[in-house]
Symmetry: C2
Subunit: 279 residues, 2 copies
């Protein structure tokens, strides 16, 4: 396991920041996260696009060029000697003199073993609960997961795998995943507003658009509960069918036909991607 802190590589267990960093003082920082398969980073260009966009939206100057950053990440993957890893790039508010105003950002990249969802996880699906909340600055991949971490005891109490945020009766996203529904008329729909646009979400929209009608628009809680199929998408989870919502079984509690088809096609996309890049 290796890491990169500002201008040098270090062992992961040496990746420390001083407590004056604004991430610790005020929860101020951004990040992005992607996986490698066979040592090849998956959809890295999309993740880097989002990382630079998050940095700009948060007024955090990113000093490394795209080319420098890519090169560092590839070196880090090589140093880590992990074929399947999670890469986390983080840019913080820096060592603030007054604990409030941002300073020169700290750039930190880690490469660690990662747990990816399995075929069995897909078959089992997720039982979820809904929770009224709107994330702050949802279009930015900030480190603010206050509500998500705070609600973990509630998830445990409800024996649920995850929670889906809604606000004013419109569903938005999971803390770390996007949501999709398949309607009775076989249209694939996913929220458009007040969300973080996931990279898996983008890939699924692309794959699905060749199979069926696809819409990005508001979805009410009622439409969710009456959907033919519901699933989530995320980098480490790919696609997970939602089989229960607030204790109510969705369809027959099994992965739906569209969900299963998209899952297969997404696995193929990942394979073609690693094949293409590795040639």
């Amino acid at each position: 396991m290796a890491a990169y802190l500002n201008n040098q590589f270090c062992e992961n267990d040496k990746a420390y920041l001083h407590v004056s960093d604004l991430s610790m003082q005020r929860g101020y920082g951004i990040f992005d996260f992607f996986r490698t398969e066979n040592g090849i980073p998956l959809f890295m260009e999309d993740h880097l696009n989002r990382f630079y966009a998050s940095a700009e939206a948060m007024h955090l100057p990113m000093r490394k060029s795209r080319e420098e950053l890519s090169s560092i990440i590839h070196d880090l993957i090589n140093k880590s000697a992990l074929t399947e890893a999670g890469i986390r790039i983080m840019l913080t508010g820096g060592y603030s003199a007054d604990s409030y105003h941002p300073a020169e950002p700290n750039l930190l990249i880690t490469c660690n073993p990662v747990k990816t969802s399995t075929e069995a996880d897909f078959e089992k699906g997720f039982s979820i609960i809904t929770h009224e909340h709107q994330r702050e600055l949802p279009h930015v991949k900030s480190i603010n997961y206050l509500m998500a971490v705070w609600l973990q005891p509630l998830l445990k109490e409800k024996k649920a795998d995850d929670l889906l945020y809604f606000k004013n009766n419109i569903i938005t996203e999971f803390p770390r995943s996007n949501v999709f529904i398949v309607t009775a008329s076989n249209t694939l729909v996913t929220p458009l507003n007040n969300i973080l646009k996931g990279i898996t979400r983008k890939n699924i929209l692309s794959i699905a658009s060749e199979m069926m009608t696809v819409e990005e628009r508001n979805i009410t809680v009622d439409e969710l509960l009456n959907a033919s199929e519901v699933f989530l998408t995320a980098t480490t989870k790919r696609i997970i069918p939602i089989v229960k919502i607030d204790g109510r079984i969705i369809v027959n509690g099994k992965p739906g036909i569209v969900t299963s088809s998209l899952y297969q096609k997404f696995i193929e996309l990942e394979k073609s991607f690693t094949h293409l890049v590795s040639r």
Copy 2:
């Protein structure tokens, strides 16, 4: 300058946390902050009450007893050799194995020089802007200041000193201060709901209740703009008159009679407190 990290004292410049800490990974942690004068911590019991309440509300187990914590803080003040200092006690989500679920919390206490508002700051007052936003878990002193830090360029652009949050036309608080108004009928009013209850706020309510009618209740933006006097309260700022709101001068742009009187009495309370404790 000295610090205390988990079970030992260290130099402030050695106070580092590993990047796996949930404060950096997910902005998850709480803190409290108070000042010393002549080496005596001001209103420390109130701050410790709030610190333990924040820890409990955030499901973060605090392993040190009240007595142990007080003793550590007093030792830290002595080691730091600062007569006027800012003490920051912080409890984080800990070194999380999966970057998401809390682990054993890290306890960190720092003692640093502090800049306190002066008589001149009081005379000058603050020009502020209003901004629609509601903090997440407002009753907890969490490290989440995402919106406040993010809005700093807006403050600069508007040439304002601070910003006051409101939601659905009801004002709540500044990012780090409470708000008070004096009405035309000479009643002191401060918001009750969806705020962090400051220690200076508590002291001002206590002082004022012997001088005038005091109310804790909702205040609309309109009532704010038509108030006789407006001021904020905070640990490092004590009381600062608000002389301009969204470009509109409040009364005549000078500290009001009630505000000035409360300021004098609060300074006296601080003095009596340090005198009382130091006897």
